[in-house]
């Protein structure tokens, strides 16, 4: 099973962050992926991605309206998007993954 990991982060508080995480988790699982999403909200970091999660991941989704630590994802196929896109349009994000329309993250942002 392909594994997708991600980070959702929103400066506006926690509600959007959780909605984005839930949206990606639901949609990904519906398509048969294993999904783990870290949330960086006003409540701090939850469900933190560990080294194994990152090592075993096939794709990374960053849905953030603020900066998140991305150096840890260097070398991984990574999609960057906004929190609202993850909430409203998870289908688009997963379509890019299905089409392999994803670049390898090289860091240095």
């Amino acid at each position: 099973m392909k594994k997708i990991i991600g980070v959702c982060a929103c400066p506006a508080g926690i509600a959007h962050t959780y909605m984005a995480a839930e949206s990606l988790e639901r949609y990904g699982r519906k398509l048969g992926y294993e999904v783990k999403i870290e949330t960086n909200g006003a409540g701090g970091v939850e469900n933190r991605l560990d080294e194994d999660d990152i090592k075993n991941a096939d794709f990374v989704i960053i849905a953030a309206d603020t900066s998140v630590e991305t150096e840890r994802f260097i070398g991984k196929p990574l999609i960057e998007t906004s929190v609202s896109e993850a909430v409203r349009n998870a289908a688009n994000i997963f379509e890019k993954i299905a089409n392999k329309d994803v670049e390898i993250y090289k860091g240095g942002r």
Binding site: A15, R26, V87
Partner: protein, 149 residues
């Protein structure tokens, strides 16, 4: 000590904009003896709105405040008869108001927000909300949030 009761629910009510909704929230909390300072409460909710709009993008807004002007954690549910514009969402029909006393250091409002936010991504749950016809039904559907406090 319930988070929500039928006094804190309105179904198919007509309110024309965000300010009317927030005034109504304060009025409902006042009538249920949860605040004795409507004006102070309104100001606290508006202040939070100014920092960042609480419209969620799916026809739902969650105005909220951690405020000295309520005496217990409270949840309000309003289903509007006609959608209104709210922040960057011009089609808000469902309102969840959350007020948590500032004396309550347990951040109950954040727990409620988190639980509600995740649940809102469930199409079936949103479908149930928009088809609610009366207060009793509404209370049943949102009562799971009582477990957050």
């Amino acid at each position: 000590m319930d988070l929500i009761n039928e006094n804190l629910i309105q179904i198919n009510v007509m309110l024309k904009d965000k300010n009317e909704v927030i005034n109504e929230l304060a009025e409902m909390l006042y009538n249920d003896e949860r605040t004795c300072n409507k004006e102070g409460l309104i100001q606290d909710i508006l202040k939070r709105e100014e920092e960042f709009s609480t419209s969620m993008g799916l026809g739902v807004a969650i105005p909220h405040a951690h405020t000295e002007h309520v005496n217990k954690p409270s949840l309000i549910f309003i289903k509007l008869s006609e959608a209104i514009s709210w922040g960057n969402d011009d089609n808000v029909e469902l309102i969840f108001g959350i007020a948590n006393p500032s004396t309550n250091i347990s951040n109950d409002h954040l727990k409620i927000l988190a639980e509600l936010a995740r649940k809102l991504m469930d199409d079936e749950f949103r479908g149930k909300l928009v088809s609610i016809e009366d207060k009793k039904e509404a209370l049943k559907i949102v009562s799971f949030l009582n477990n957050c406090i």
